[in-house]
Symmetry: C2
Subunit: 118 residues, 2 copies
Amino acid sequence: MYICLSMKSTNLYKGSLVTIILKLLNEHDKMYGYEITQKVKEITKNELQLTEGALYPALHKLEAQGLLDVEASKVGNRVRKYYKLTEAGTKETVEKLAELESYIRNMRALVNPKFRNE
Amino acid sequence: MYICLSMKSTNLYKGSLVTIILKLLNEHDKMYGYEITQKVKEITKNELQLTEGALYPALHKLEAQGLLDVEASKVGNRVRKYYKLTEAGTKETVEKLAELESYIRNMRALVNPKFRNE
DNA sequence: AAGTAATACATAGAATTTATATGCATAAAT
DNA sequence: ATTTATGCATATAAATTCTATGTATTACTT
């Protein structure tokens, strides 16, 4: 019904979608797109709502890059596409998580002088 | 000499440039562009190097939005453009910092189950 | 029973942000 | 004398995400 749920007003989340997807798949083994959007809403208490216009293309790209495998599954008359990490995807997840920690460390240092000691 | 210093390989920093600029100006009162790039390098121990192709347009935009004031200053035969926060800029800084904290909280919850309890 | 909301996929085009690659010029260091 | 650092700038490309759609099934509500 044509209502678009967006990544809030801030654009800090730009660049973090892949990290989110990989980490959730790393934790849950196998998920489908819609399930990912709901899980993100739940964990962030509605503060972050992924847009489908960003999520689905991202999933397709990760699959094309060999980081995800897909498996279609019929539930009633409706199709779900379950995604799971490949081996390469698992490695990439580790890298992305390290990048996130580095990002958070640097941003904290930039905005909070008391985090600047080493 | 045409060497371009970039925001590293990750794209997590997308969307955080404005936050960085505002916070540094909030702390240092008055800074010029090149000085900002050096301060960021120093604080992040070279992990983050702002590109001038992103920084200067961002400064111009913040000025056009009324968040920054500019004052040109000659040092020898060279011109520096000092930027400082306007009142609106100071308010915006507070908002941007709150958004960053919210972002970090949500991302931590997403990637680390132990941060999910409230 | 009918209408609405939720589930579940998808895509095209716009918008936003940043990177790349330049350009010019002065001052300092080798 | 030459290179590096300082200091500004911009245009185009690249990357990511948003907006606005579209289709279809299932569940819920009145």
